[in-house]
């Protein structure tokens, strides 16, 4: 399980990365993240929506209500150019942390 801080920090890059593969709605987005992390990333699902709305307000993504099966509606989210830029930025930062940790841990594997 991830710590609360790490969950908070990784939500935006995860959302951006999932949306980079194509538009989707909140529930499906959470399912994707759960599958891809083998169930190790568990969100309090309601918390995703404020993040999505904030990202929309920042112009990273846009949303649209669409008819789902029957009378129900779903709100679909799509990545915008600003979001793509933000994703590249996030990728660089996470890769920096990742590469540094890997370098450190490679040299002293027995300490883990």
């Amino acid at each position: 399980m991830l710590s609360k801080e790490l969950v908070a920090a990784s939500t935006v890059p995860l959302v951006l990365s999932v949306l980079a593969k194509g538009e989707t709605y909140g529930y499906e987005l959470i399912q994707r993240v759960r599958e891809l992390s083998d169930g190790r990333i568990e969100w309090t699902e309601g918390m995703l929506y404020p993040v999505l709305h904030w990202m929309e307000r920042e112009g990273m993504i846009e949303s649209e209500w669409r008819k789902a099966d029957g009378a129900r509606r779903r709100r679909y989210y799509r990545l915008l150019n600003k979001g793509r830029k933000a994703l590249r930025n996030e990728q660089q930062q996470w890769m920096t942390v990742h590469a540094t940790l890997m370098n450190l841990w490679k040299t002293k594997p027995r300490l883990i």
Binding site: Y27, E45, V51, R75
Partner: protein, 245 residues
């Protein structure tokens, strides 16, 4: 109803939604979205063989406790309430200005309409300007709305810019009175600042008083003019929010 059980899913969901709606941080669109999520989750769990009641309980738990989710929404919507209030304030203010401009066009413009000089067009400028700004504010993603939303992220900047907009014509006029600016009467002739001028008259700004009185009485009437509508708007939005639930 497909399966007749003691558990009524529709009413359970309605209750769940009403429970969330107690927190003022949820807009109705956000509630719609959470409800849509709940439905997806319930259908999913039912597909895996859970009963309706079990599916509902688990789905609601996954979404999270209402106060926690509400707190997250509050973080991003805290300004939202103020954006709403300020938006209505600005719209009201622009309406007054546009009306005043219109009135001044009627009052003086029409007299010159028969000779039909450029004068009339120049007087129409603030009216057209106000109409454009209004239209752009009312459209949800219009330019005006976006500027306002960006400004209201920093409440001080918003307050400051309003103050400046109110202040500029008064300063011009004041400088004209002191004779610091030769020919400042231009804006009165052109009617370019007629909206501001008009709103100043409506609020009862004392424009012809001597210097110290000018400052104090204007400050007083500006304060009343700003606080009054704000209070009304705060009360009105509370009302609206209650009515929506």
């Amino acid at each position: 109803m497909e399966n007749e059980t003691a558990f009524d899913l529709t009413s359970a969901i309605r209750q769940w939604r009403a429970h969330l709606a107690q927190w003022p941080n949820f807009e109705s669109a956000a509630l719609d979205e959470l409800e849509s999520h709940l439905w997806d989750c319930i259908r999913d769990l039912e597909g895996r063989g859970l009963s309706q009641e079990e599916a509902f309980t688990i789905a609601a738990r996954r979404i999270g406790p209402a106060p926690v989710v509400a707190a997250e929404f509050a973080k991003i919507n805290g300004h939202g309430v103020w954006i709403d209030r300020m938006l209505w304030f600005v719209i009201a203010w622009l309406c007054v200005s546009a009306f005043e401009s219109f009135r001044s066009v009627l009052a003086s413009g029409i007299l010159f309409l028969l000779p039909f000089g450029t004068h009339v067009f120049v007087r129409l400028v603030p009216l057209i300007g106000a109409a454009v700004v209004l239209a752009s504010l009312i459209r949800r993603n219009g330019f005006g709305a976006r500027v306002l939303v960006n400004l209201s992220r920093r409440p001080f900047m918003l307050a400051g810019s309003f103050f400046l907009v109110q202040l500029v014509p008064e300063v011009l006029r004041y400088m004209g009175q002191l004779g610091l600016l030769r020919g400042t009467a231009f804006y009165e002739d052109w009617g370019l600042l007629a909206p501001f001028h008009g709103s100043a008259e409506i609020v009862g700004l004392a424009l012809d008083a001597p210097v110290p009185q000018l400052f104090t009485s204007n400050l007083l009437s500006l304060t009343i003019w700003i606080i009054g509508p704000l209070l009304i708007l705060i009360l009105a939005t509370r009302r609206l929010r209650l009515a929506r639930q």
